[in-house]
């Protein structure tokens, strides 16, 4: 392990692994467990995506293809081995998914990585649509609308007592794979290819003039990225025991782009944060309201405008402030800023939920005009809840402008002190 890690890093990685292993001891419910499983898979998927976006500067709109191919091939393999399999074989199936993603990368990447920039983005979009269309045209392989399903409990024996049947065992398998894949992807950033990918991202012309074929660098990075996306796909096949065409369509490609971006493409750990956050939003908020995509959209908008470097960049900024001894003076401002944001959010949520209930008839019977928002039974027909929500939103906007402005001033002064200290 010292191959990759300094001692401090080793500690950090160890702590993360320990946390991942220990979480199910605290979060015991089935809901939490499936959330954790989803997070583990998405962490691998988002990190693989950032090998392209953050490290090589390739904006892909079709990354789900590699993830989906990994999932489908894994599922077919699982069904093929069927009763002849053993839990050990099942545990290794994500590798098959990885190889499927890698093979897809070898074939499709040959076309997509000829060019970088906008051309790459457009071709990746085209290929993504092409494969998604194929998924519906060849129901024999892709299972059509219903997808294909399987059973991850195969054979009779067990592997060290594991059959992968119970969700908690599946979680263990996901953690193991996610950890290995994350270590491997981090190690890749510390190799000649990983560094030259950064160089190609920064300045492809110069990379050519120091002896590197930029096309080859992009191609290799895409193949390797496809491999890790395929592993994530394999895990999702085992976890849900069903794979549908949705795993490789544009929506999945979009979600992985968003989570990677929100997390922060400039940092290795950015996509991990993004994967956790978006999975939680998707499942927790998605479980509370059907309007979750709207909230997610708003959140994404907010992030792009306020913190284009993603959450990781915000964290890095706080760490810089902390190291300069400036963090302390910002804390009261942060606390003060949470008040108007909470007020604003409460108002917005009220408005959105009531509108959604009214327009989509969500959660209400025919002719019913009441909906529950934040535990309150609201009568949509009366003016009162609307007025209150509007007033709350307006107050939130006013407060945000007032207190947010002051926070901004404090923030700028802290920043100028920080940069002043540096130079």
């Amino acid at each position: 392990m010292s191959f990759v890690f300094s001692r401090g890093r080793l500690l950090l990685w160890g702590a993360c692994l320990a946390l991942a292993v220990a979480l199910p001891l605290v979060l015991k419910s089935g809901f939490m467990l499936s959330l954790l499983c989803q997070i583990g898979i998405m962490v691998v998927f988002a990190l693989s995506y950032n090998m392209l976006l953050g490290q090589t500067g390739l904006l892909s709109f079709g990354h789900a293809v590699y993830y989906g191919m990994g999932a489908f091939i894994t599922m077919h393999t699982l069904n093929m081995i069927g009763k002849d399999g053993s839990p050990l074989v099942v545990a290794l199936l994500p590798l098959v998914g990885g190889l499927a993603g890698l093979a897809a990368g070898v074939v499709l990447g040959w076309v997509t990585t000829k060019k970088a920039g906008t051309t790459f983005a457009m071709i990746s979009l085209g290929i993504g649509e092409l494969v998604a269309a194929c998924a519906l045209m060849f129901p024999g392989f892709f299972g059509g609308e219903g997808g294909i399903s399987g059973n991850r409990v195969v054979g009779k024996g067990n592997l060290l007592g594991f059959t992968w049947g119970p969700q908690v065992e599946m979680y263990g398998l996901i953690v193991a794979w996610a950890f290995v894949a994350t270590v491997a992807m981090f190690a890749l950033t510390q190799t000649p290819l990983g560094r030259m990918a950064n160089a190609v991202r920064d300045n492809p012309e110069r990379a050519e003039f120091v002896g590197y074929d930029t096309q080859r660098v992009r191609y290799l990075m895409l193949i390797l990225s496809g491999f890790f996306a395929g592993i994530a796909g394999g895990l999702t096949a085992l976890n849900y025991e069903i794979v549908t065409a949705e795993t490789l369509n544009a929506h999945t490609s979009g979600v992985v782009l968003l989570m990677t971006f929100v997390g922060g493409i400039g940092f290795f750990y950015g996509p991990i944060i993004g994967a956790i956050l978006v999975s939680v939003m998707q499942i927790v908020i998605g479980g509370m309201t059907h309007a979750w995509l709207l909230y997610f959209g708003l959140f994404f908008l907010f992030m792009v405008l306020m913190a284009p470097g993603g959450i990781a960049s915000v964290i890095a900024m706080q760490r810089n402030l902390w190291q300069a001894g400036l963090f302390g003076r910002m804390v009261p401002h942060y606390l003060a800023a949470t008040v108007p944001i909470l007020v604003l959010m409460a108002g917005l949520v009220g408005l959105i939920e009531m509108s959604y209930a009214l327009l989509a008839g969500e959660g209400v019977g025919a002719g019913d005009t009441a909906t529950r928002v934040m535990g309150m039974q609201l009568q949509l027909a009366s003016m009162e809840p609307w007025a209150i929500a509007l007033a709350t939103t307006a107050a939130g906007v006013a407060l945000t402008r007032w207190i947010g402005g002051r926070t901004g001033v404090a923030w700028n002064s802290a920043l100028s002190t920080l940069h002043g200290d540096k130079s």
Binding site: F3, V4, A187, L188, Q190, T191, P192, L193, G194, R195, M196, N198, A199, R201, D202, N203, E205, R206, A207, E208, F209, V210, G211, Y212, D213, T214, R216, V217, L220, L224
Partner: protein, 256 residues
């Protein structure tokens, strides 16, 4: 007799209907310092772009150490031992000074597209990058992102990236452009030091630099070489004086 470092014959480049390089024949000897001068728009940078394959040639031949290099890609020419710098600074902005230089040495040390070597364990790459960093005087800026270096520092890094791979034919495109007098003096000393024993071709406007550094000078005017000779002889060449130095101000600076 060994083949010249670079041989150009009948070299032409058209952009649409306009001819930019109109038949250049020139041999660059091995180990010489060769300056290419000429008025603005004469095609000096274009000539560099043709040699380094940044632009495709329209017709003619370019040989690098006796080998025809027409049709090769920039990275292929670089691997044959030709390295160039750019007039407009062309570096890896988000990478540190050290990483910039390490990227520049990886291919020549044979690490290619390796994803099985750990960068931190590549002692030869680190030592080479550190040595170049020392050479160009940026050791104190080792971990600074290249994008926030001062202009002169970026120009030094540009030269550093160019020479780091150990290429034996070096093309420098206006290495001292935009520098102050003292920065220029430092740059000239640097260029002299790091191109010792190598073939150097440079495009330069500063006549002080040209006459101080070059063994031979070629004068490019309107896409053609009108003279190639030792600096002293170039200064006395009537055609050159008329076409170029005759404008007065440039020649005046040249005698500093």
């Amino acid at each position: 007799m060994t083949a010249p470092a670079i041989r150009m014959s009948g070299l032409r480049k058209n952009f649409g209907v306009s001819e930019i390089i109109r038949g250049v024949d020139l041999d660059i000897h091995r180990g010489e310092r060769h300056a290419i001068i000429g008025p603005n728009g004469a095609g000096k940078s274009t000539l560099f772009h043709l040699i380094s394959a940044r632009l495709p040639v329209t017709s003619g031949v370019i040989e690098l150490k006796g080998e025809n290099v027409i049709g090769l890609k920039p990275f292929e020419i670089n691997r044959k031992g030709l390295s160039r710098s750019f007039q407009i600074t062309n570096i890896f902005h988000n990478l540190s000074v050290f990483e910039n230089l390490r990227c520049a040495v990886l291919w020549s040390l044979g690490y290619r597209y390796s994803f099985w070597h750990r960068l931190a364990g590549l002692k030869d790459a680190r030592l080479r990058a550190d040595a170049v960093m020392e050479d160009i005087g940026l050791t104190s800026r080792r971990d600074t992102p290249a994008g926030i270096l001062s202009y002169a520092e970026q120009r030094a890094l540009e030269i550093g990236i160019t020479i780091a791979s150990g290429a034996d034919v070096i093309l420098l495109d206006e290495p001292t452009a935009g520098m102050s007098r003292s920065e220029t003096d430092d740059a000239v000393a640097l260029i002299r030091r790091v191109t010792e024993g190598k073939t150097l071709v440079m495009v330069e406007h500063d006549m002080g630099v040209v006459f101080g550094l070059a063994d031979r000078v070629s004068v490019l005017v309107y896409g053609q070489i009108i003279a190639t000779d030792a600096p002293a002889a170039i200064r006395c060449n009537a055609a050159v004086q008329e076409a170029y130095l005759g404008t007065g101000t440039h020649a005046g600076h040249g005698h500093e």
